[in-house]
């Protein structure tokens, strides 16, 4: 087994050495064709062997946890929002709005994600309502991002296929720094709102959004723009930016934790592999961070089994532990690993972090050439 792993790692490294040249990350560029030719597009991915009965238990949907968390979240926003309102015009407004903004954008992102998968609540309409609200809160067009995220799950970190790769190799630091205040993705999204409002679709979007959805996309964008215009009107009427400080602007000034979590998901790890243990990172976090992130720190688990709702991910993690590399011990440790890897990738784009597997694990699956013939124990 050790020989096979070494052989696989060697093959993958050779492939990565060949990729030292700067690659084109566009999903409508030459890398898209290359990924398809290599069998990496819509491929079969490695999954850890979990008995069906256990999976059924883990996949079970419940309304309770998400309703509880939603009440806490919106309750927290009302309290922090009121304190921020009272502090307006004083220096206290800075920490008060920072706290409000983080509580607005961070769960906004994770609720957008979980409800987009339709797993957070048992009741479908609850997922949909929360998805639409959260999409606006994080300024993501609901339908385009639903399809973009589906592609991200089909072809996770496959260059030329995945539209949600945060930054290419070598990394573009400017994008990461701008994203602390959502100043890269935010303006891009607003540009897309305008494009959709006038009934046009981006070329990359056409690659993953079916034509049957275009009309819906255009109408959603018009509604978003109306809301933004209403907020702008409220600001003009009030003679203050205060209304926008509660809705719309928090997507920008409250984005720091969103990007902090976001960079730890995949950056510094493998591209172009068919094993989420190689391209995703699981991190232990405290209960407060896990509440904000809705357990997406269990990222290997989420990608391998997206049917499992956020509240069952800790249990899934325990089931998968013998088959996975050790989880990063903290957010800080994960951030250090990411930054260190990105610095190395600046000089050597082929550099990746790879963690050893425990002796109980099945070997890593670097590409389609390795048919592991995995049998799940019933």
């Amino acid at each position: 087994m050790a020989e096979q792993q070494a052989h696989q790692a060697n093959q993958a490294n050779q492939a990565h050495q060949a990729q030292r040249a700067k690659r084109n990350y566009s999903i409508i560029g030459p890398e898209s064709k290359r990924a398809q030719e290599r069998g990496l597009a819509s491929a079969e991915w490695y999954t850890s062997p979990i008995p069906r009965a256990k999976m059924k238990e883990l996949m079970k949907r419940r309304n309770g946890p998400a309703i509880r968390d939603t009440i806490i979240w919106f309750g927290g926003l009302v309290i922090l929002g009121y304190l921020a309102y009272l502090s307006w015009g004083t220096w206290w407004a800075i920490p008060a709005f920072l706290a409000y903004g983080v509580l607005y954008a961070t769960p906004g992102d994770s609720r957008w994600h979980e409800c987009g998968h339709g797993t957070a609540f048992k009741t479908p309409w609850m997922n949909e309502v929360m998805y639409q609200i959260a999409s606006f809160m994080v300024l993501r067009s609901a339908t385009p991002w639903r399809w973009s995220h589906a592609r991200h799950h089909t072809d996770t970190i496959i260059v030329g296929r995945d539209p949600e790769i945060i930054t290419e190799r070598p990394p573009i630091w400017k994008i990461l720094l701008l994203e602390i205040f959502h100043l890269y993705g935010g303006p891009n999204e607003i540009r897309r709102f305008f494009l959709h409002t006038v009934g046009r679709m981006g070329e990359e979007e056409k690659e993953y959004i079916p034509e049957s959805q275009f009309r819906k996309v255009y109408w959603e964008a018009r509604v978003y723009l109306l809301i933004i215009l209403a907020i702008a009107g409220a600001c003009v009427y009030a003679g203050s930016i205060l209304p926008a400080m509660f809705v719309f602007l928090p997507s920008f000034y409250g984005a720091a934790v969103v990007i902090t979590f976001g960079v730890t998901q995949h950056l510094g790890l493998y591209e172009d592999v068919l094993d989420h243990r190689l391209n995703s990172r699981t991190i232990y976090m405290n209960p407060v961070l896990r509440f904000l992130y809705w357990n997406m720190n269990y990222h290997v688990e989420h990608h391998m089994f997206p049917m499992v709702p956020y509240h069952a991910l800790p249990k899934l993690h325990e089931e998968m532990k013998p088959d996975c590399p050790a989880a990063r011990p903290s957010l800080w440790a994960a951030l250090k690993e990411v930054v260190s890897a990105l610095i190395k990738q600046k000089k050597d784009p082929a550099y990746v972090v790879v963690k050893p597997l425990p002796p109980t694990a099945r070997p890593y699956m670097y590409g389609i050439e390795h048919n592991l013939d995995i049998k799940v124990q019933a």
Partner: protein, 105 residues
């Protein structure tokens, strides 16, 4: 004259209520379902959105959710119920004889 024939797919005890299993026949693959009411259904095995087998999915009442992208189908009608699935699932007639589940393909 129709070429369709009844093929034994599995035993009635092979599937629990509210569950699904895979059945391969020649070069074709199917999903055999048992809903929460205990009735039986069969469809093409792969999701109409991407090539992922529905037998790894979750049956909730009479709905099947695809394991990869959480798209949903009505098991009874095959209708696509939730994005990213937009195309209905092809269904096949099912009958039970003795302890065996047959599908007409």
């Amino acid at each position: 004259m129709s070429d369709l024939q009844w093929v034994a797919a599995c035993g009635v005890d092979d599937i629990e209520e509210e569950d699904v299993i895979r059945f391969d026949h020649g070069d074709r693959t199917f999903a055999i379902y048992r809903t929460d009411k205990g009735d039986w259904h069969a469809s093409d095995g792969y999701c109409t959105h991407e090539r992922f087998h529905l037998s790894n999915g979750l049956v909730m009442g009479s709905v099947i959710e695809c394991p990869k992208h959480n798209g949903r189908f009505d098991i009874v009608t095959g209708a696509a119920k939730r994005a990213p699935v937009c195309v209905d699932l092809k269904k096949y007639p099912v009958k039970i004889e003795g302890d065996t589940v047959y599908i007409r393909i």
